[in-house]
């Protein structure tokens, strides 16, 4: 018998019951809650007169709707101008209070984007099953946790039963071997992977990211990679536990201490795929071939290197792809064979659950230091992923670097990644964004999103158009792997 993959191990450790019809009951260790996908779940519990199964498995924070200007946030919930958003945030507060669920409220320094908050608190641990009503829950797989997004009915199901009805996924391994070039970051790696396998390439699979380039990433970088597994169609992204994982977790508020820490670490060391484990599919990329990436279209797979150009739709082999590309270029206001470096930007967004952690802000700040945002840029904003990230950045003086360069320094939340609050693109505006989705209208009605790394976004802010971050002087500072 061959060995087990990391995914197999996590699945087996949480299998409550395998049913004859192919479904299984999986025990859930941690559920993260936010204001958008939980109200109907709480309402369902209430209507059925059910109680949460285990309160301490849940942790909540508002993130999608919260305003990000310092002035609005000073007023707490009453600073939320949109009455519909306010009701949603207030409803989360009310539900958490009613049921006794721990919540980091709007102005708690620990508040932030759920996928930044969970790991930062040590509320995400290796060997856990983690769910949240948000597809970017894949982020937590960076810790060797089985983590995925669920719908609101499933949020209710997990609250009521501490279990999820699931079917076992297939195993895929994506290996990135070699050493990443200077200025090439985790974001570029994952965009290159999506460009290679496509947005449905991982559908039905749990993807384990492996290889020397992945192992060399910091936890922040690993979270960026796993975060976007869903953009390749995979609900689950995973990375094996190693010293980097364990060092990150030591002394986090929710992490175990003393003897329990020792026992946990010993257990976590097993959270790697066995040498003889079999994957249903293996994809390999060479790190040296990956250059800084920029998306040009309306799906994350529509991406290319900074030295590349917008493709010619008529060159696509498949008719459906031809139509998608034609439609995407029309929406994006780009033309076939246009150089990526010729794309001019209107707005810059540095933030989101993909790239709003301290390391991301450091990378962007290094590029922005002593420079000025181009006059043609209408708005350049930096939105830290949590209150604690913001504090850390301020302690390091990063806020001053951004403000002096002409960026707005904001309060934590999802912000312009999905534009549920006031931060959005106008119709036709091009944005260099460190977020995860470039779908039509995602960042605002008619808005045009280009997905990039934090360093590339900062460089684009200064130049007013895309530039190769590797061509900037002192680009050695942007090499994530040395941080």
């Amino acid at each position: 018998m061959s060995g087990q993959t990391l995914y197999d191990k996590l699945w087996n450790q949480h299998l409550v019951k395998q049913r004859d019809d192919g479904t299984a009951l999986i025990y859930i260790d941690r559920q993260l809650l936010h204001e958008v996908t939980s109200p109907q779940a709480f309402e369902g519990l209430r209507l059925a007169n059910r109680k949460p199964w285990r309160l301490d498995a849940n942790l909540a924070t508002p993130d999608h709707n919260v305003p990000t200007t310092i002035k609005e946030r000073a007023e707490g919930n009453s600073g939320i101008k949109d009455p519909v958003s306010l009701i949603q945030v207030q409803t989360l507060d009310d539900n958490c209070l009613e049921y006794g669920i721990e919540e980091f409220k709007i102005n708690d320094p620990r508040q932030g984007i759920v996928h930044v908050v969970g790991p930062e608190q040590g509320a995400t641990l290796p060997g856990m099953t983690v769910v949240c009503g948000d597809s970017h829950t894949a982020t937590h797989g960076a810790f060797g946790a089985l983590a995925h997004g669920i719908g609101t009915s499933e949020v209710e199901h997990v609250m009521a039963t501490q279990c999820l009805l699931a079917q076992k996924m297939k195993n895929m391994q994506v290996r990135v071997e070699g050493e990443l070039g200077l200025g090439v970051t985790a974001k570029d790696v994952v965009l290159a992977i999506i460009g290679k396998i496509g947005t449905a390439g991982g559908t039905g699979y749990a993807i384990e990211f492996a290889g020397s380039a992945i192992a060399s990433l910091s936890m922040e970088g690993r979270m960026t990679v796993c975060n976007m597994a869903i953009e390749a169609g995979a609900r689950v992204g995973l990375i094996a536990v190693d010293d980097t994982t364990i060092d990150y977790l030591a002394k986090r508020p929710f992490a175990p201490t003393a003897e329990q820490w020792e026992a946990a670490v010993a257990d976590w060391r097993n959270l790697v795929s066995d040498d003889d484990a079999q994957f249903d599919k293996v994809v390999t990329l060479q790190a040296e071939e990956i250059e800084p990436q920029v998306s040009w279209g309306t799906s994350p797979e529509m991406v290319t290197g900074i030295s590349g150009q917008v493709p010619d739709p008529s060159a696509a082999l498949d008719e459906t792809v031809q139509r998608s590309h034609t439609r995407a270029l029309e929406y994006m206001g780009l033309h076939a064979n246009q150089k990526i470096t010729d794309i001019k930007l209107d707005k810059i967004f540095i933030g989101s659950c993909t790239n709003s952690r301290i390391e991301d802000l450091r990378e962007a700040a290094k590029v922005a230091k002593g420079k000025k945002v181009a006059d043609s840029i209408k708005l350049a904003m930096v939105v830290p992923g949590s209150g604690l990230v913001k504090r850390q950045a301020e302690a390091e003086g990063l806020d001053k670097i951004f403000i002096e360069a002409g960026f707005e320094w904001r309060e934590p939340g999802c912000s312009m990644c999905l534009a549920m609050n006031a931060d959005k693109l106008g119709a036709g505006e091009h944005c260099a964004s460190t977020s995860n989705r470039n779908f039509e209208g995602r960042q605002g009605y008619g808005g045009r999103t280009h997905l990039v790394s934090p360093a590339m976004a900062a460089a684009a802010a200064i130049a007013g158009h895309f530039v190769d971050v590797r061509s900037l002087p002192a680009n050695d500072a942007t090499h994530a792997q040395e941080a």
Binding site: D21, Y27, Q88, T152, E154, G441, Y445
Partner: protein, 215 residues
């Protein structure tokens, strides 16, 4: 959940790959704390010529005459015919809520995104997968025949075209059972309450750190 019964319904074709959940229901409508009322904003950005706002009276908004659901021949459609990777992106269950609220009972496509797949079945929507060539043929038939309807028979796992052709499809037993009976997942899972409690005790003994609260 209502029981899923055999029906014949008008088919509306949405000829576009990778339809994401942002396109199915844009984010501004996710601010609602209810499960209902999303139908008028289904495919909002494709369907209307202006930018929609939550709570707006949509009957006064300018419609996009080119969009399939605005064409009289597809009025009352209950089956949506779509292209590959339908429902990709966000986990928002508002997407199936909007489809269901609009009146769709079935979506047929070559492939679906995983989270959307789960969410749809939990809301009584049947998702049917056929190979690309079958889908191409259905698009051509719908295009050529006004009032094109499909007879959807979940019990026997088949779709019957107006010409009498029978197209069989796969669906897992559990989901089929839940749809046909209109069953509530939570009630079913709680029948295994003892098994869950037993597992939980064992799990806690083996890995107590997973049950630790904040310091």
């Amino acid at each position: 959940m209502k029981k899923f019964e055999r029906f014949e319904g008008v088919v509306a074709p949405l000829d576009r790959a990778n339809v994401d959940t942002d396109l199915i229901i844009p984010k501004q409508f996710l601010k609602s704390i209810k499960r209902t009322g999303f139908g008028v904003n289904l495919f909002d950005e494709l369907r209307y010529l202006d930018e929609g706002q939550p709570g707006q009276d949509c009957s006064q908004r300018p419609l996009n005459p080119d969009f399939v659901l605005n064409q009289p021949r597809f009025k009352g459609a209950e089956v949506l015919l779509a292209r590959r990777n339908f429902g990709c992106g966000s986990s928002r269950e508002h997407a199936p809520w909007a489809l269901e609220d609009f009146g769709f009972k079935v979506v047929i496509a070559p492939s679906f995104a995983d989270i959307f797949y789960n969410n749809s079945f939990k809301n009584g929507i049947l998702l049917i997968t056929f190979p690309e060539d079958v889908i191409d043929r259905l698009f051509a038939e719908v295009d050529a025949n006004e009032g094109y309807q499909l007879d959807v028979d979940l019990e026997n796992q088949r779709v019957i075209t107006p010409s009498g052709e029978i197209l069989e499809f796969e669906v897992d037993e559990f989901r089929k059972h839940c749809l046909l009976e209109g069953l509530d997942d939570i009630g079913l899972t709680l029948k295994d309450e003892d098994a869950i409690r037993a597992f939980e005790q064992k799990h806690k003994a083996a890995r107590p750190w997973l049950f630790r609260q904040s310091a």
